[in-house]
């Protein structure tokens, strides 16, 4: 999609003329799960960045950040993957990920893993950013005082007007990265009606291999989230594909058991359909920004 000068001008106005120099070039880490299951969201994230005037590289050599191995206690394998990832992104000033948990993995655990491995590529941690956090903090798309606009954020797009959304806070984005208000503010700034959702900061039960080792426990956790969904929303969204796989997989399983129509992941609001779509934050934001 061609880069929009008008949008760019509007955004830089809202940032203020003397905003600190923001990144003009980033490397994009698709992450293995999003690459495989949320390819559209990856493309959408890249499109958003380009739309905002940022050149995006997609380096070769990127594979898996090592989070599944790390969380399962396979530290040696996690270290190998961390080394691979650090190597792939060695040249990038900023690395943007469409995944809070992978960004959390890099930020929280790479320093100790790579120190232990005496890798020659230290320092990826502070350069890794979850997408919404990057947009708000590094690009400053909501301006410097964005937290003061609670409830009435600056508008940066209109593509989500009339769209009802609930936001699931992935645990690692929330607790490892401290990302909480950013994605919600971005959605609102694009016109979305972000509907309160009881337990939106509660774990969906994915937890990587936890979901396959203890499926009954894990799916029960998803049920509590799904049971609490407000009516008449269009989308459940999150910055973490794993959580969306868990929630949508459970929702489709239950719908199948009930013989009801399975919800789709199509990014089209279906206000007439009681079942919401499960869609990645990047996909909604691209639409919201008209990118």
């Amino acid at each position: 999609m061609p880069y929009s000068d008008a949008a760019s001008a509007r955004l830089s106005d809202e940032r203020g003329g003397d905003a600190p120099r923001s990144p003009t070039r980033v490397a994009f880490f698709a992450t293995c799960l999003a690459d495989r299951f949320f390819a559209d969201a990856c493309a959408d994230a890249v499109r958003i960045l380009e739309h905002l005037g940022v050149a995006v590289d997609v380096p070769d050599g990127q594979t898996c950040c090592g989070q599944p191995a790390y969380n399962a206690g396979h530290r040696a394998e996690a270290t190998r993957m961390a080394r691979q990832t650090a190597k792939a992104f060695a040249a990038a000033d900023h690395v943007v990920l469409p995944s809070g948990s992978c960004a959390g993995m890099i930020r929280s655990f790479y320093p100790s893993l790579l120190r232990a491995a005496k890798s020659g590529a230290p320092g990826l941690a502070p350069r890794a950013h979850e997408l919404s956090s990057f947009l708000v903090h590094e690009l400053g798309v909501l301006g410097p005082d964005w937290r003061d606009h609670e409830g009435d954020p600056p508008r940066i797009g209109a593509g989500l007007e009339g769209v009802g959304v609930v936001y699931h806070h992935g645990c690692h984005a929330l607790r490892e990265l401290g990302v909480h208000d950013e994605p919600v503010a971005l959605l609102r700034a694009c016109g979305a009606d972000v509907v309160p959702w009881g337990g939106d900061t509660e774990c969906c039960g994915f937890g990587g291999l936890f979901s396959t080792k203890f499926p009954e426990v894990s799916s029960g956790m998803a049920d509590r989230k799904l049971d609490a969904l407000p009516p008449d929303i269009d989308f459940v969204t999150s910055a973490d594909g794993g959580c969306l796989l868990q929630l949508s997989g459970r929702a489709r399983h239950l719908a199948r058991e009930d013989g009801a129509q399975a919800p789709s992941a199509s990014p089209t609001p279906r206000t007439s359909n009681p079942a919401p779509g499960f869609v990645h934050l990047a996909t909604l934001l691209r639409r919201g920004l008209g990118a």
């Binding site: 495989r36 206690g73 799916s219």
Partner: protein, 467 residues
């Protein structure tokens, strides 16, 4: 439930029990949610982060100087006229208490709520020695009548509904089936009163023990601990060696923090500070007070450069109340005294890692526990630490290790990794998933994940720059 579960039983069955029993599900969820909300409100009133730093530092200091504080505590206790015993193992601790009972010809024992005595299996030991043991905390009393272990550190019977208790009391004591909670409590109080008056010995734990003054601190809401430790002629406090605090003044802060974390109260309804047996001229109190210091794996934990941090735990249960995993199974699923996140990182230290399996894996690592811990135990990090140890010690399935090695090898070869991902995308996951190692666990409870038609990294514009 006389057939007690073990950690190795953790999993499907217990999750289904709670899922398929709406009453139990409601009881557990309601109780922990309410405790969690009260905790949140109580912590909002204070400078929470500063208090947590302080509490962490006090406990860390004492744990790293036990060589100084344990002898100091012993001296202070002896000065106070308390008899001090040391037990390295659970069995030794039980023997010590049983022997004290025998020395006094005791037949009836009343117990104040104590998780350590659950950990070491004291009730069973005393009963084997022919003693009658009566739990006097209302929740503990209920589960003793039901022959169940506690399901929560602070609320041992919280998995049981009011209905369950009405039925139990109706069957045992003939109270009406629609008896009010007040009636049930009054019934228990009447029965327990006789037990208190007839008891030859009272057994308690300790929330804290001040090393400088030898003060045993006990926090409660019902008053049964105060009675159990003051009416019977002998009081035995069974105390984990990690319960020390350096100074009497430290008790003030820690008692408040524990109450705020456990129940959201500013302080427990009763705080007993026990300074030894009844002195000449005093009207109340036991003739003898004993402290049994128990190790039972604690020094082993202390020697571990990562795992030792769990010893800061003040047993407030806040991590259970915030834990979405605990909520799915309740506490019995964990198969030993301590459940929830703290139970999963204590078990490898106290039971040994092999016996604790798979508890360190029974977590989604969501981190809600670490957020509320009043002494800042890095619970998710310690869960991962024990997982690493389990992998090192060959306690995890071989197929997991092989899969991870293959995965890592692929990840080091981006071309091959991409091909593997293409293969996953081409598989009929919904059908084949049930036969594949990892996906098998996913299927059955969830629809198969739907791959994108084409991977992002395969899209043409990216291909140009790439492989």
């Amino acid at each position: 439930m006389s057939e007690r579960s073990r950690p190795s039983d953790y999993g499907a069955e217990s999750a289904r029990i709670v899922r398929d029993d709406p009453g139990m599900r409601t009881s557990i969820t309601g109780a922990v949610r309410s405790k969690h909300e009260k905790r949140q409100a109580a912590w909002a009133e204070i400078d929470a982060e500063a208090w947590r730093d302080w509490a962490r530092d006090v406990k860390t200091h004492v744990l790293t100087h036990l060589d100084r504080y344990l002898p100091q505590a012993e001296d202070a206790l002896l000065r106070n006229g308390v008899k001090v015993h040391w037990a390295e193992t659970a069995a030794q601790a039980c023997d010590v208490v049983t022997r004290i009972a025998a020395d006094h010809g005791a037949r009836r024992v009343v117990k104040a709520k104590s998780m350590l005595t659950e950990e070491i299996g004291l009730n069973e030991s005393l009963e084997r020695a022919g003693l009658e043991v009566r739990e006097t905390d209302l929740g503990e009393y209920i589960i003793q009548l039901l022959d169940e272990p506690p399901s929560h550190i602070v609320g041992p019977s919280l998995h049981r509904s009011l209905e369950d208790c009405r039925r139990l009391f109706h069957d045992r004591f003939g109270t009406p089936l629609d008896a009010s909670p007040e009636t049930l409590a009054a019934t228990a109080r009447r029965i327990l009163r006789d037990d208190f008056l007839q008891a030859d010995m009272g057994v308690s734990g300790a929330n804290f023990l001040a090393a400088d003054t030898g003060t045993i601190a006990l926090i409660e809401n019902e008053g049964n601990i105060r009675i159990s430790t003051s009416i019977p002629p002998v009081h035995v406090a069974v105390v984990g060696i990690e319960k020390l605090v350096p100074k009497f003044e430290d008790l003030a802060g820690l008692i408040q923090l524990t109450a705020r974390s456990a129940t959201g109260q500013a302080i427990g309804n009763y705080v007993s500070l026990i300074q030894g047996p009844r002195r000449p001229g005093e009207r109340d109190g036991p003739d003898e007070v004993h402290v049994v210091f128990v190790d039972n794996g604690r020094t082993r934990l202390l020697a571990d450069e990562h795992a030792w941090e769990v010893l800061r735990c003040v047993r407030c249960g806040a991590c259970l109340n915030s834990c979405p995993v605990y909520r799915q199974t309740g506490g019995h699923a964990y198969g030993w005294a301590y459940s929830g996140p703290i139970g999963a990182i204590l078990a490898p230290g106290i039971l040994g890692l092999e016996a604790a399996m798979p508890l360190p894996f029974a977590s989604s690592l969501c981190g809600a526990c670490a957020e509320v811990c009043p002494v800042r135990i890095p619970i998710p990090e310690l869960l991962v630490y024990w997982r690493e140890r389990a992998v090192e010690e060959g306690l995890t399935p071989t197929v997991d290790g092989v899969a991870m090695k293959v995965w890592a090898a692929l990840a080091e070869h981006p071309g091959a990794f991409g091909v593997a991902s293409d293969v996953v995308g081409a598989l009929p996951l919904e059908g084949a998933g049930r036969k594949l190692p990892v996906l098998r666990g996913w299927m059955g409870e969830r629809a198969a994940p739907v791959p994108s038609p084409e991977r992002f990294l395969n899209t043409s514009s990216r291909k140009e720059e790439g492989t």
